[in-house]
Amino acid sequence: MVLKATNIIKYFHEPEDFQVLKGLNFTVDKGTFLSIVGKSGCGKSTLLYILSSMDTDYEGQLEINGQLLTGKSQNELARFRNQNLGFVFQFHYLLPEFSALKNVMLPAMKLGRFSKEEIENTAMEKLRLVGMEDYALKMSSKLSGGQQQRVAIARALVNNPAIIMADEPTGNLDKANSIKVFDIFMELTSKGQTIIAVTHDNEFAEKSHRIIEMSDGKIVRS
């Protein structure tokens, strides 16, 4: 078991008090490819931000890799994310002033465990994995949406995190690239990494190991 969520409750207070997540309980095993599906607005993204440790404003408990994250300070969580989590955002967020390669290298440089050459090699390897090695030295702002998304995936992989979380990772990709991304994720699970992906692409979800379906802030199928 790599992740355990206990009675996760989340409110939004703006524009009015509104309960988005209404007590979610689930665990995720190591090496699972988990898809979270549900209608738009049911709270999938909200849940994913809590699981990613970025959103700390919730009730309930979150445990990842045997560590209780609930109640930890922002800086502790930042270090935890850096080592254990990879994140692919719904909108491919790269740093525009840096090359694709440098974007991928940044989390590893922050981790600081390897030399610059080692990091560069790892980053190139990850770029190759997503088929972006030819664009390594291109400014990320000069890449197309789909290309940026793939670089963002490479970046999420660079520290070999225990869990990779992705919010609509194929939202900006065409059919061929979507399949490619799916295959990459599947491949990673075979090496023991865990994938948690929010998606509304049913075909994508059906092929994954496990589906959690949400509706109106609750889990309706698991």
Partner: protein, 422 residues
């Protein structure tokens, strides 16, 4: 190493918006170069005037002032009575007595003071006011009877001679050295004869053996030197008659202390260099304060410029900051990244500022002084003190550190979810 990474990101950000970075940098450059030019010039002028005043006035002057505030004989008698017996004694408009303004046993004093370890040189003088006449022209001024060798030791008179030489006074008992302004007024040249008249009506015919110029109009226009004996003669006094003792110390900053000491020892009035030039020192202070105010204002303005630019920059980079945090960058990494940007701006701006400041200070120091004849100076005085340059870079650094810190702190507090959620 995280700091290195922060620096890497900082430099990338700076280079990505070169124009803004350069504008912010030039703000600092302007502030610091202005600071340097102003402080170098101001202190240069101060130092020049200082040296001028120091050069041409004694560190300590001993004299015997004529007292006008002496007690009347009636007051003196009243003071001896018991207070309740005090009568009404009124004396209107008391005149000074015909006191001799001489220093009793002056020459002996000179010999004692000369032996003091702090003392560099002593010059006894006998001075009086006189009228200079050359033909029908009459100009008032002062004459100093001096031991010209001692006087030269104190004021380096030789270097101030425009014409003739000081030795003329040694060999010629009727010799006189006059100021350049005075020479012009009475139209006298070396070798001419002029007559001087004392306030008591005694007249003496003297021969001009030299003309000096101190570069201070009030001196050059009125003063003259003769031997002590000559002035004693015209005043009809005996050879022990001395009115002033001028003293130079090895360390002029001890003037005040030594002056008080001498006063205590001998009882004569002593005046130190600083007190004599008090008005000049007041101007000194005002110039320093002005320099500080203007420089600080410029740096504060530059600081606000950087503050604004950094704030705008952080607003633009809010998404990047969210990503960095999502990837695991901590608050302190974010602060370092953005603080480094403003400090780099500050240091580069500061270094450029001291180069430009030096350049303009140099230009000023090479600019011919317009009134070259009036003061002994050919170009504007500039003080190239390296401490100013260190201070300039330091101020630039501190200003930008402050200006960058608050925006950087704000950046570190950005909540990544709020941004990424969109």
């Amino acid at each position: 190493m995280t700091l290195k990474l922060s620096l890497d990101i900082a430099i990338t950000h700076l280079l990505a918006r070169k124009k803004q970075s350069i504008v912010a940098m030039l703000g600092v450059t302007f502030g610091i170069s202005m600071f340097l030019v102003m402080i170098s010039f101001m202190t240069g002028v101060n130092k020049f005037l200082n040296d001028l005043a120091l050069d041409n006035s004694p560190h300590i002057r001993i004299y015997n002032p004529i007292k006008t505030d002496r007690l009347t004989i009636l007051d003196e008698m009243a003071a001896t009575k018991a207070p309740n017996q005090k009568g009404m004694n009124v004396v209107y408009h008391q005149r000074p007595k015909n006191e001799l303004p001489n220093i009793d046993k002056g020459m002996k004093l000179v010999r004692i003071i000369e032996k003091m370890p702090e003392v560099l040189g002593v010059s006894p003088q006998v001075g009086t006011q006189v009228f200079y006449n050359n033909g029908p022209i009459q100009v008032s001024g002062t004459i100093s009877g001096t031991d010209i060798v001692k006087e030269n030791a104190l004021y380096n008179l030789k270097s101030k001679m425009e014409d003739g030489n000081i030795e003329g006074l040694l060999f010629n008992p009727e010799g006189i050295i006059i100021g350049s302004g005075l020479a012009k007024k009475i139209n006298a040249k070396t070798g001419d004869r002029i007559s001087i008249t004392t306030p008591y009506g005694n007249t003496l015919l003297l021969k001009v053996v030299g003309i000096f110029s101190f570069g201070i109009a009030t001196v050059d226009d009125t003063k003259s030197y003769a031997s002590i004996a000559t002035v004693q003669k015209i005043l009809q006094k005996d050879p022990s008659y001395i009115t002033d003792i001028h003293i130079k110390l090895k360390d002029y900053q001890k003037s005040k202390v030594m002056a008080a000491e001498l006063n205590r020892m001998f009882g004569f009035k002593t005046e130190d260099w600083e007190t004599a030039n008090a008005a000049f020192f007041a101007g000194d202070q005002i110039r320093y304060v002005m320099t500080a105010v203007v420089s600080i204002t410029l740096l504060v303005v530059a600081g606000f410029g950087i503050y604004n630019i950094m704030n705008m920059h952080i607003l633009n980079k809010i998404k990047d900051i969210a990503i960095l945090k999502a990837m695991g960058f901590e608050g302190k990494d974010i602060i370092a990244t953005f603080l480094m940007q403003s400090v780099i701006i500050g240091i580069l701006g500061g270094l450029l500022g001291i180069s430009i400041g030096y350049f303009f200070s140099y230009l000023i120091s090479q600019t011919p002084f317009p009134e070259a004849g009036f003061l002994k100076i050919t170009t504007f005085p500039v003080n190239f003190d390296p401490r100013f340059y260190v201070a300039g870079v330091f101020f630039g650094f501190v200003t930008t550190l402050f200006a960058g810190y608050f925006p950087a702190l704000k950046a570190s507090k950005i909540d990544p979810v709020a941004i990424i959620r969109g």
